[in-house]
Symmetry: C2
């Protein structure tokens, strides 16, 4: 459950941000337990996540915050947030609408290393990325971990 | 399943390493689906993980590879490895012996953000860290994500 009060969330002070002011955020599907994606949050993105109950991240390539699903509608509704022992990683359990991956898969880890050391696609395709993102798909409008 | 051949694993070339030559590695319990920890791998640690079938990581603070469980015996037996869409994060599904967290919990995400924005301990304590690590516990002999 996300904080319901308007007071300053105490745990923000406990976090060990990177020199760039970022923290890795793992998103796990609260229903299926799949690891959906990993992306980065700055403090602003984490605050917006807390305030809105939907995940926000920081794009290192575009140098700004973005809301997951802002283009696709495939938002992540936050269920709960966890902090690891070193306080330098957060785990967000969320309900995923549509698919987490901008390539159309339910989660971003849709390729598995096979016995020969190659990659095989094993993920579940849940939408057509060209239809959802159109021309912007090629531009990586929702970089999962950029 | 990890690569069984001695040939060069092709997928290593596909990975997008950080400027420091690292990649975040999320470890998920293949039995319980818990997210156990996140740590960093350099190419050497990933190769050792593939070769031995046990997770190895790179400690940024100690600037060297380490085998998970080398002090505690709480090794992670690799089941399968996944790569995300941007090829800049790997997900390792593994069977955890003992506990993943050097603080004695089964996983490192043992603290949950509560409604007031504080942190409450909700994790499952599975061993006594002082007994397992002794004096070295204070030194963070097995930093989960350092």
């Amino acid at each position: 459950m996300t904080p319901a009060t308007s007071q300053e969330p105490e745990f923000l002070k406990a976090l060990a941000w990177s020199p760039e002011g970022l923290i890795p955020a793992i998103v796990q599907d609260v229903e299926t337990n799949e690891v959906l994606m990993m992306a980065w949050m700055d403090e602003s993105a984490l605050r917006k996540t807390l305030e809105t109950g939907q995940t926000h991240f920081y794009s290192r390539s575009r140098r700004k915050s973005w809301r997951k699903g802002e283009t696709s509608g495939h938002v992540q509704i936050v269920d709960s947030i966890f902090v690891d022992c070193d306080a330098d990683v957060v785990l967000v359990k969320a309900r995923q609408l549509g698919g987490a991956c901008h390539e159309g898969y339910h989660n971003c880890f849709f390729r598995r290393v096979d016995r020969e050391g190659g990659l095989e696609v094993v993920g579940r395709l849940v939408f057509d990325s060209q239809t959802v993102y159109g021309a912007s798909a090629a531009e990586g409008s929702e970089p999962s971990s950029a």
